[in-house]
């Protein structure tokens, strides 16, 4: 067999691609994993959390092997106003025990480790290799063109896991042009804290960790949110902004990040911190509205490349969706090899598997959250309204405490009518409650 011929070519060594390569290699298939970076993880960026139950199915007790920073035992959700904040602060004993609910990881070490698991299983990892195009024979995809000498790589199946800006899915004609309302931009800083400061400031012991996701109007009027995740002895924090609001507001995300760092609820956490890294990445957030055609003859699209991210209000999950999609793609390819058929009908099994798993079920279930997430009042009005209401209510200034309803009505009148709030309440209900 020619060295440029494989059973399966997987493009992109992120969670989706690595999972597919690992499972295919375990079955003894000849699989290559292409990665454009120097090493797997060198280009990869996210906020911070891996919800790894799906990984536990692939690598049992992965937490004893994978490089992780902390498990998340304290989950916070915060509404942010200009100089106040209100949080839900959830502590769970169950989240502290195996199999753990979620971990904070750094992608350069986590993805690198995970890719090595695929290599150990027999996958051929080709780093510093960009896949520029697909190769077709008739309607069948039969390989990719890598940007290097003798770059023609051939296979029975190509799995495109080439990230949020998937040029391969586009070149295969599986997706249309990207639009700003499909994406949010996330930027992140890693900040080193003085020894012991992180545990002390957040009340953590041992390997316990915290995630805090913020909702509110970001600096410059950007719509989105912010996040803080605990690493071992540094914090990852960042801002997420909808691309259409970046375009409309002409505000910069780094100024919004600076403003977030100066917020009175955030600044004390960063005291004495030393800047380590700044990174940026797009998040596909339009759910079912941006999922491309997931397959064609000889090809499947997985992970961010397929828009398989759950942006469901209080949920923002990607890595677990990528792993599950990579697994479904691998299982589809394995079945195709058993049957010796790689055409469109054989690849269609991939979508069936995704629909049977939480991947397309959750994304479909929470498609009702998308109108809510695009509702400007979610950022412009409600967080500051809630904070102002509580500020007024908790204020002890000698004038006595009103009942909540009267005060809400008064404060609401400053922003909008009760009718508007009722309609938004219904939208929230449709998004999250039923």
């Amino acid at each position: 067999m020619n060295s440029n011929n494989f059973d399966v070519i997987v493009v992109g060594a992120g969670p989706a691609g690595i999972t597919a390569a690992l499972l295919l290699a375990r079955k003894g298939l000849k699989v290559t994993l292409l990665e454009r970076g120097e090493f797997p993880g060198s280009k990869n960026m996210f906020g911070g959390a891996v919800f790894g139950r799906v990984l536990h199915d692939i690598i049992p007790e992965y937490w004893t092997k994978a490089p992780f920073e902390r498990f998340i035992s304290r989950k916070m959700i915060t509404m942010l106003a200009e100089d106040s904040a209100v949080s839900l602060d959830f502590h769970s004993a169950a989240f502290k025990k195996p199999p753990y609910n979620g971990f904070v990881v750094q992608r350069t070490s986590f993805d690198r480790w995970y890719a090595q698991e695929a290599v150990k299983a027999g996958a051929v990892l080709l780093t510093q290799t960009v896949a520029d195009d697909i190769i077709r024979e008739g309607s069948q995809v039969v390989g990719v063109m890598a940007r290097r000498p003798q770059g023609e790589l051939r296979a029975k199946v190509v799995i495109a896991a080439d990230g949020a800006v998937s040029l391969l899915a586009k070149k295969a004609g599986l997706r249309r042009e990207f639009t700003p309302n499909q994406f949010s931009l996330g930027v992140k800083e890693v900040v080193q804290l003085p020894a012991g400061a992180l545990e002390e400031r957040l009340g953590l012991t041992g390997d316990e960790g915290m995630s805090n996701e913020f909702l509110g109007r970001m600096g410059g009027g950007l719509h989105g949110g912010a996040f803080i995740y605990t690493n071992r002895d540094c914090l990852s924090l960042g801002v997420v902004a909808q691309a259409h609001s970046l375009k409309a507001r002409k505000a910069t995300i780094y100024d919004a990040l600076d403003q977030f760092k100066r917020h009175p609820a955030v600044a004390p956490l960063l005291e004495g911190g030393r800047f380590l890294e700044y990174s940026a990445h797009l998040i596909p957030e339009a759910g079912i509205n941006m999922v491309p055609q997931l397959f064609t003859g000889g090809m499947m699209v997985a992970g961010d490349a397929a828009g398989l991210v759950l942006a469901g209000g209080v949920f923002l999950e990607g890595v677990n969706f990528a792993i599950a999609a990579g697994k479904a793609a691998a299982e589809t390819a394995i079945q195709a090899f058993e049957k010796g058929s790689f055409d469109q009908a054989a690849m269609a099994e991939y979508e069936v598997r995704l629909k049977e798993s939480f991947v397309l079920q959750d994304i479909d279930r929470f498609k009702t959250a998308i109108p809510m997430l695009l509702n400007e009042r979610l950022y412009e009005v409600y967080p500051s309204f809630v904070c102002r209401t509580l500020e007024n209510w908790f204020m002890v200034d000698g004038t006595g405490h009103p009942k909540l309803a009267g005060m809400v009505k008064r404060l609401l009148g400053e922003d909008m009518g009760l009718w508007q709030m009722t309609k938004d309440g219904y939208q929230f209900g449709r998004a999250m409650l039923w």
Partner: protein, 91 residues
């Protein structure tokens, strides 16, 4: 305004000799919003008197935001050559 180049100095870049994104400034001159100037998280797009914008690829974080927001098709957007571009230490 934050000077982002100071932060990018903390990341290791391997520069390609060639820009991975090509900008068609003829189209940029027609642009009315020039949102790339503020939307790019790495300040790769700078204001330019004649063309409206000037693109520097060296600090690019390869995120794709410019590609997603440009509505004039002015960008021939691509990833850098294998192994080139930004290398994160944490992310």
């Amino acid at each position: 305004m934050v000077d982002i180049s100071q932060r990018l100095k903390f990341s290791r870049y391997r520069l390609d000799r060639q820009a991975h994104i090509e900008v068609d400034y003829v189209k940029c001159r027609r642009c009315t919003h020039r949102a790339c100037l503020t939307a790019c998280p790495a300040q790769c797009y700078l204001a330019h008197a004649e063309n409206g914008v000037l693109f520097n690829y060296e600090g690019c974080l390869e995120c794709g935001t410019c590609y997603v927001i440009c509505d004039l098709g002015a960008l021939k957007w691509n990833y850098p050559k294998g192994g080139c571009g930004v290398n994160y230490r944490f992310a």
